[in-house]
Assembly symmetry: C2
Homo-oligomer: 252 residues x 2
DNA sequence: CGATTGGTTGATCCCCATCAAGCCACGTGG
DNA sequence: CCACGTGGCTTGATGGGGATCAACCAATCG
């Protein structure tokens, strides 16, 4: 059966190009096209290679892969991770809709981390050389692209702060508060969401073990800060979680 | 006494603009002007606000300062650090000649960390708005600027790996190997250099205490990996240090 | 059904923080 | 000159936070 327009439902293929435009994408206030007028947005649309589905557990790119494109997340969640010499993973971040993957690869033309979909997801492939050409004609895009790279730098600095001088409880609180604020920025509930990542991924990311994460969830539950069942999470006392994150509240 | 050309020797003032040009700067193969032809390099020279001296212990910018400029290090060393809610420092990096300071501030127009000179240093002030205008006309500069931002991202990812799943010994070895390679890239000895930062700064950066750093130095000394007297350091067995970093060698 | 995957809970242990004392070089003032 | 303080660092003794080990549970799947 032939299809004039690539099907949305066939995994691994491109997505219906009619539906998938920056202007109609719910992420366009956060993503690269932020602040662009319709004309500029169209130009950006034109260079986007393809809009791909990535199934849960599939790897979008792997450490060492040659770098050609950045990927903007339309839908879904990813984790990025490095592999150390011993072959163990270190999760370096969790990404969601509107965020950009692959910026670390620009410096060496090789991907410096791997990116795996935590659920069925969709991304826009942005060939980097085309993007750079576009940047020259679109100051607004240039500006926002730089902001997004800079944001990645500050995000990582926060994680360094977290790993460098926070205790387990504080780390985990910071993690939850961070998720909450990102969901809020996307118009979702800041207090009710599901964890798309396993306890193992969370622990790895926070420099803790899976057992510690389990205990911390339990601790917070007992303190009345949240309820959790499997991966469904409800934050009951966000202000106090924030206080713990800030170190204001010690939390016995 | 009037001076036609700002004196090089007056602290806090601009530096002799005749001597201080990208083309004659020893860092120009690493720094922003990498790969530029003479014409482009001149254009870059023209937008550089001033070349400043920063005395040891002085702060170049502070968290929360409004962002106007990036700073390229001509000479000397800096540390960058964040302050957590409790008022404690977290060192996020050590920077040396040819590296760029302030890229984290682009996203919010405010500095996200503070930068302090570890010794008497010199920087080139690069007004960011001028730089962005220049980028439009100079693809080579655009490319390299993106590479430098990306490099900062990968650098921080490495630190996340370090803080997230390395033991103290491994962290410290990684720190030394990193310094060695950066000095080598600058044409200095990879095996003999002085630590410009205090034990306290090192410990803070690596998520360890000052006592641990002291013990680790001693341990490495006993293992014949290095000699150290005060801040003067001599690496005796770089390959083995690298092996420890990689986790190949366990190091009892 | 058994096997497997992901998570919880308890017992024990160890790495590194913490606490404490002391060393050394330096500056300062009597 | 010494007495004194101070900052940066070293060294030793002790303790704790979280890792590790182990058992168990629940859901899913062939």
């Amino acid at each position: 059966m032939m299809q004039a327009v690539p099907s949305y439902t066939l995994p691994g293929t491109t997505i219906d190009v009619l539906k998938a435009r920056c202007a109609t994408c719910s992420m366009h206030q956060l993503c690269l096209p932020m602040g662009l007028d319709m004309g500029d947005m169209d130009k950006l649309d034109k260079i986007i290679g393809r809009r791909r589905k990535v199934a849960k557990g599939d790897v979008l790119f792997r450490i060492g892969d040659p770098f050609t494109s950045l990927y903007a997340i339309r839908l879904g969640h990813f984790k990025t991770y490095q592999i150390n010499a011993g072959g163990e993973e270190q999760v370096t971040g969790f990404q969601m809709g509107g965020e950009l993957l692959g910026m670390d690869a620009i410096s060496t033309d090789k991907h410096y981390c791997s990116a795996m979909a935590l659920e069925d997801s969709e991304v826009c492939e942005i060939p980097f050389s085309s993007l750079e050409q576009l940047l020259v004609d679109m100051p607004t895009l240039l500006r926002h692209f730089h902001r997004m790279m800079s944001q990645e730098i500050t995000r990582e600095q926060s994680v360094m702060l977290l790993l460098g001088n926070m205790q387990a409880t504080q780390r985990f609180a910071a993690f939850l508060v961070n998720l909450a604020s990102r969901y809020e920025a996307r118009g979702y509930s800041a207090t009710a969401f599901q964890l798309r990542m396993s306890r193992e991924d969370i622990g790895n990311y926070l420099g803790l073990t899976i057992e510690s994460i389990s205990r911390l969830l339990n601790k917070f539950k007992k303190l009345g800060l949240l309820t959790v069942s499997n991966r469904e999470l409800q934050v009951l006392d966000l202000p106090r979680l924030k206080a713990i994150t800030a170190g204001t509240e010690v939390c016995a």
